[in-house]
Amino acid sequence: MIRFEGITKRYDQQTVVSDISFEIEKGELVVIIGPSGCGKTTLLKIVNRLIRPTGGRVYINGADTAAQDEIELRRNMGYVIQQTGLFPHMTVRENIEIIPRLKRVNRADIEARSAELMRMVGLDPEQFLDRYPSQLSGGQQQRVGVARAFACDPEVILMDEPFSALDPLTRVQLQDELADLQARVRKTIVFVTHDMDEAVKIADRICLIHEGGIVQYDTVEDVMKHPANEFVADFIGRNRIWSSPAFIRARDIMIQNPVCASADTTVMRCIERMRTRKVDSLLITGENMHMLGIVSAKEVQTCADRSVPVSRVMRRQFEKVSPDENIVEVLQIVNRGGLSAVPVLDEAGDVVGLITRSSLLMTLSRPYLDEMEAATS
């Protein structure tokens, strides 16, 4: 739908974006995100030619935008910026209808469309159409801005930090509404923000820009799971993952060096190892940490002959999880089996870690403890 090919923008000696290439699919909401000054807004404005690239091309539906009439191009594209994007001297109606009127669309159609757009963004047309932007709250103004962008029913909508000046409550509300609206209308939306929470909430894909280049272009989940580098990890926030349980994987929360014993260790030694390491179960492993079985403290203590190898008493049937299973699935397994610990095994059945009830408790309480720490400090 929208294809960036080798987009470069230089001002004098300063390169703002360099050689950016990526493609946005039809009906996709892509968030371009990055720290301030990374070139994300420049990239957006190149799409509707408010900024001319020094090099490279943008294709929409295969057509080179540079070859099109820029007024025509912009009129077929929605554009939303912060509240100041509304014209203060025009009523809500005039703001929404300006482009259709300039296009000389039939009057009756325009009026019907305005009412429809207002309802779409959750504003009562009767009540609001004839007010001035200054008579509306910030959230209402932004809704009008969104309505105006949809006025000509464009395929592509560009949004440049539309919600960043709103209070947090209204912002979240508008993000949710945008996500709902997008689920219904499936426009191709390019959304610029510096707010990762916002991106996670609304994006299909995230395009992370840093110092004028793309660092990562992936789905939200992949960006969180597999940050391309340290910068991405820092930018999305290392603790962010804890607030989205579906993205927390077993590998993230497991104890990485669980207490193990080899199969021929005697029961006696196993008891001793459990006591000194203060654990209530042991993973019994073969070569290369291959998981053979598990024993609990109770099982070794009730064993009459403590000189036999532990392989005689260990359980060979046990619940296990893979490193990619998420915390919700892990909890289900632990609760279902009434387990105190569940080993994390890779595909070959080798031990990569262990999840215990106490490590789960630690994990789940972490966001609260962090919050308390932040609040007290």
Binding site: F87, I98, L158
Partner: protein, 212 residues
């Protein structure tokens, strides 16, 4: 004889002069606005032209008005022509200045939005820039209108009609009543102009700015 009886006796002439004065003032202001506003718009688009245009307007403002009138006689003769020319030239500066100020005071994001949603340059000017700058532009016109009333009295020097005639003939004949017969209506006219243009200013202010 007191002032009031003098005024009553000469009421006919005073009223005629007043209307001549009003006519000259309004004509000059309309011409000044017709030149000044487009010039201001032009400057706001061509940054490079700002300095020379403003420079010339400032220098003209600095020439003593009496001297300017004197220079104009060989070029335009006497009567209304040099009078209107002089008043227009003096009225330009506030109008140009306020036009430039009004246009440059518009939020850059608003203009970018106008461009971004697909308005042409002319549409951005006529639908967004001018309506938003109009209150400031009109404030400039108002200043010019008020000062023009005073300037028009000076044009009696080059034989233009108006209240100035009464004042100068009063000075020459040491007739205080006649001076006042010109000065008081001129003063009232200036106040009237101020009132009139403040109403126009209110009229052109977009509704959204009115409550504040």
């Amino acid at each position: 004889m007191n002032l009031l009886t003098f005024l009553a006796q000469n009421a006919g002439e005073i009223v005629t002069r007043l209307f001549q004065h009003l006519q000259l003032t309004l004509l000059s202001i309309v011409i000044a606005a017709a030149i000044g506003v487009p010039l201001g718009v032009l400057i706001s688009y061509r940054r490079g032209m700002k300095k020379p245009v403003m420079g010339v307007a400032n220098v003209v403002q600095a020439i003593p008005s009496i001297a300017l009138l004197g220079f104009l006689i060989p070029l335009l003769g006497i009567g209304e022509k040099p009078a209107i020319f002089m008043v227009v030239v003096y009225s330009l500066l506030p109008i140009i200045k306020n036009t430039v100020t009004g246009l440059s005071g518009i939020n850059a994001e608003t203009l970018e939005a106008a461009k971004g949603i697909g308005m042409t340059r002319i549409q951005v000017l006529t639908k967004v820039k001018l309506p938003l700058a109009l209150p400031v532009i009109m404030a400039g016109v108002r200043i010019s209108a008020v000062t023009s009333v005073g300037l028009v009295t000076l044009t009696a020097f080059v034989g233009a009609n108006g209240l100035g005639y009464l004042i100068y003939s009063g000075i020459r004949t040491l007739n205080e009543f006649q001076i006042l017969a010109g000065a008081i209506p001129a003063c009232l006219l200036a106040l009237l102009m101020d009132l009139l243009f403040s109403l126009v200013e209110k009229l052109v202010t977009p509704a959204c700015f009115k409550q504040s």
